[in-house]
């Protein structure tokens, strides 16, 4: 019997999706923990008030603010998750690279912050529209960010920047002071090469300046079509 070969792109996509889901569920659990304690605190205050003890109105006011903040935080997390889920709706469509980069910064924040990294995004004022596979572009950015964290300098800061090209766009990752040819070659696994081919994109390095550029095409047709 022939051994079953796992589709590398499918596997990469699932791994990406599950990692983001795990990170998001952790974030939601944290907001629920705060709301849970807040509800418990209100219960404590109610019991104390029933016993005739004074209620600290200022503390209640600040608690309401904290609860509202947590609800807004959870709402943003769920909105981001929803955007990621909908990026699988169409396999080739027009996207704004600026907005997609912001989404990836938010979705990866827990992972990057937990590992002690600061990720910034520099986007142009005008939307940068390209035709691409949104889900695999997000996956590619995730993989590049994960790799970037292994070659960043002591500042542990990574900047992601969108640059409009004619045609297409570029996403530049900078702050990669420890980027070497060997490390970059190791990064270019089968799944990365397949993903680049499916996005019709290329990677370019500038080791002297610690940068990797993802070149995104301006064509409107999927390479698979």
């Amino acid at each position: 019997m022939m051994p079953h070969r796992i589709d590398p792109l499918g596997e990469a996509g699932l791994q990406f999706y599950s990692k983001v889901s795990a990170s998001i569920s952790h974030e939601i659990k944290n907001t629920l923990a705060v709301l849970n304690e807040s509800a418990g605190f209100l219960e404590d205050v109610t019991l104390m008030a029933r016993k005739g003890m004074n209620v600290d109105m200022e503390r209640l006011h600040s608690l309401a603010g904290s609860m509202l903040k947590q609800v807004q935080r959870a709402d943003t997390i769920v909105k981001n998750m929803n955007r990621l889920a909908h990026s699988l709706d169409e396999s080739w469509t027009q996207v704004d690279v600026n907005s997609l980069l912001e989404l990836m910064k938010n979705l990866s924040e827990r992972t990057t912050v937990t590992r002690g990294f600061n990720v910034t995004v520099a986007v142009s004022d005008m939307p940068v529209i390209i035709a691409t596979n949104p889900f695999f572009l997000e996956n590619m950015i995730w993989l590049l960010l994960d790799f970037a964290m292994t070659v960043t300098g002591d500042a542990k800061t990574i900047e992601m920047q969108t640059v409009k090209a004619d045609p297409g766009a570029r996403i530049v990752f900078s702050g990669l002071d420890r980027l070497t040819e060997n490390k970059f070659n190791d990064f270019q696994t089968e799944r990365v090469r397949l993903m680049l081919a499916m996005l019709n994109s290329t990677l370019q390095t500038d080791k002297n300046n610690g940068m990797i550029t993802l070149n995104l095409p301006g064509n409107t047709e999927s390479p698979a079509q």
Partner: protein, 142 residues
């Protein structure tokens, strides 16, 4: 005697509220919003229990637990986590965690675990005192 507890979590709002609620239950609560601060606190003071978040920036809960146990093997550490996997739970127990509680947790459960941690600590302290006395008696030949 009040229970002395250190709560470690990078969620400031969580720290503030749980601190208020445990204080209202006659506990002596100290908080730390990072592993670094928490390690400094356990070097300076003695606690009946440490309630430690598993996922924190820079140094995660398991690493922190390891460092804390190296510095004070008798320290009773209860891990708090947003997503407990079986593997993490086993690793935590191997590193000497007393318990692992999933967020959001019921305060009564946390209080019960802190009380249990304090009881464990008392047993350990008594055992050590007993060993010390036995050692003195043996060495002095009384």
């Amino acid at each position: 005697m009040t229970d002395k507890v250190l709560i470690v979590d990078d969620e400031e709002d969580f720290l503030n509220i749980i601190s208020d609620r445990l204080t209202a239950r006659d506990m002596n609560v100290t908080t730390a919003s990072s592993a670094k601060v928490a390690i400094k606190k356990i070097d300076e003071e003695s606690f009946d229990a440490v309630v430690l978040d598993l996922m924190m920036p820079e140094m995660d809960g398991l690493e922190t637990l390891k460092v804390m146990k190296e510095r004070n093997p008798d320290l009773q550490v209860i891990l708090l986590t947003g997503h407990a996997t079986v593997e993490k739970g086993i690793e935590a127990m191997k590193l000497g965690a007393m318990d692992l509680i999933e967020k959001p947790a019921d305060l009564a459960t946390i209080v019960e675990r802190i009380k249990r941690a304090k009881a464990e600590k008392i047993i350990l302290v008594e055992k050590k005192s007993e060993e010390r006395i036995r050692d003195i008696l043996t060495r002095k030949g009384w």
